[in-house]
């Protein structure tokens, strides 16, 4: 494995951000050829105080998909019940040998080092592992990697367009739609797919008169809550999540409604 050498150099934007944050370290880092992965690790430990003023800028940088590391090559003889499988992840072709028991979630996290998708419950009850496969949101913890032959997988790392955040990502930042952030990658993948479902006129359990075809659908708060019920947030950021999705879905600014408990 020589994946670190395959990571690209820092981009001009990243160099600028680093220079602003830790000017004395930049030269050394550039001379010793730090990888982008190390850069990301460094800024993640740099502390939110330092980063606060750069939050939006940094978010945009982080939205860029990480370079794809080479996969640890295994042979069939090394893996009991090994299955060779090819599928796309965030536009990159992947071909690898997996243990038949490997879920899509574990494969993407452990073999491709795309750790955005989270393992919450690992039993299909929380939605933290949500990915988009062939345009549809699914649970990657209940999907075998072996069953993904020929499919196209999008993880949270592939949601932004280059350095441009997806409108759902931008709205999540604007509306403060997370606290600990663990469920957020799943929430965002789920919400991105929800937009397409509404555009396509797909109904939900709370849709009135399912026998009347209509598209695109304008979703009420109640509709968004029902359609997002597969994504649990134990911090309880639901009002903010719903506000973010409503804003993007309706195309109109949504004010947050909240009250102090009591």
């Amino acid at each position: 494995m020589n994946q670190e050498n395959e990571n690209p150099d820092l981009t001009e934007d990243e160099k600028k951000l680093f220079k602003d944050l830790m000017p004395e370290d930049l030269k050394e880092i550039m001379d010793t050829g730090f990888s982008r992965r190390h850069f990301l690790k460094l800024i993640s430990i740099a502390g939110t105080g330092v980063l606060a003023s750069h939050l939006l800028g940094a978010e945009q940088l982080l939205a860029r998909p990480l370079a794809q590391p080479s996969l640890n090559e295994l042979t069939t003889a090394q893996v009991e019940n090994g299955v060779r499988v090819s599928f796309k992840v965030n536009g990159f072709n992947k071909n690898l040998l997996v243990d038949s028991r490997m879920t899509l979630l574990d494969t993407v996290r452990e073999r491709m080092e795309l750790t955005g998708a989270k393992k919450g419950c690992d039993h299909g009850q929380c939605g933290a592992c949500t990915m988009i496969v062939d345009g549809k949101r699914i649970l990657s913890c209940l999907t075998l990697a072996a069953s993904c032959e020929g499919k196209s997988v999008t993880t949270i790392e592939g949601i932004a367009n280059g350095t441009d955040l997806h409108p759902i990502q931008a709205a999540f930042i604007k509306h403060d739609s997370f606290q600990c952030g663990y469920c957020t990658p799943g929430q965002i993948c789920s919400a991105v797919a929800l937009l397409a479902e509404a555009k396509n006129g797909e109904v939900s359990y709370v849709t009135d008169q399912v026998n009347v075809p209509k598209k695109p659908l304008q979703l009420s708060e109640n509709e968004i809550r029902e359609r997002m019920s597969g994504n649990i947030c134990r911090c309880g950021a639901y009002p903010n999540i719903v506000a973010a999705i409503r804003e993007v879905q309706s195309g109109k600014s949504v004010e947050q409604k909240w009250n102090f408990a009591g």
Binding site: E80, N81, V83, S100, R101, T103, D122, H123, G124, G127, T130, K136, R137, I138, L139, L142, T143, L144, A146, S147, E149, S190, A193, L194, E197, G201, E202, V203, S204, Y205, T207, D208, Q209, V210, N211, P213, R225, E226, R227, S229, G230, N231
Partner: protein, 335 residues
Amino acid sequence: MRPFKYTHVNTVQSATQLVSTHSNAKFLAGGTNILDLMKEDVERPDELLDITFLKVADIKMITEGPNKGGVSLGALSNNTETANHELIRLNHPLLTQAILAGASAQIRNMATNGGNLMQRTRCPYFYDVDMPCNKRVPGSGCGAMEGINRMHAIFGWSSKCIAVYPSDMAVALAVLDATVQVANSKGQQRRIAFTDFHRLPGENPEKDNNLLPGELITAIELPPNKFASHSYYLKVRDRASYAFALVSVAAGLELNGNNIVQAKIALGGVAHKPWRALRAEELLKGKEATEANFQAAAEAEMNQAKPLEYNRFKVELGKRAIVRALDMAMNNGSK
């Protein structure tokens, strides 16, 4: 998870032959239930036969027929596309509602129609391998009988098992007079009336349904119905969404003016299979569609229930749910 061999199958014939000849092989479609059960060590197959790569068009499609006004649901069509298909939304909106009341958007995108019928109970004593369970290990006893049986059956249970069937889709299929089409390894096909597909637990709760070894569901057929504009699926649960039913009601009313020509009612969350409320249906036949008649029918059905220690509330809940579902059906499901 225990090691297993993963195999693609391309034809119904090879799928049914392999599952007949390889001992302890199972079919894999959406995987939403079997993979969970394998992680829990409840299911322990040696081999999974992935049928999602079958090269048979019909099994992945929703088509008109075979009889006029009817529709055939491919076993490998997923729950989302079935619920949203124009033929289903227009002619069988009850099925759309029932499917959409179950699980989450992500799971409905994965789960297939055939797999929905093959899912297993969510009884926590079935899921916990340290507990006795006659369904998981025949003869080991029932942990739920003397345990926390709040979610369990009030109709049709036996001393061996008090688990309930978890599917919402199945409750609607029970009132839509569906037929399950299956194929076997000899290339033969047979049809099973939907209400005969799942079983009551009796002495053999390890058998969820009447499929024979080696059989594969290929389609679910729905005849035309006369209550598309007067139907509703009501689901009552512990939270507003993404939870299994405490009680659910699929109701369809065929009306002549305000008179009930025929009522079709099935209950979910109360028995080892979708529970057709035949007594309530019989009482409503030919009667006027009034609140009082709905109430009387609901009482007659639910008074036959045999609740357990922690689920007595389901009797009253069931009465109210039946009345409300019938009210909603009268209003064409509008809230």
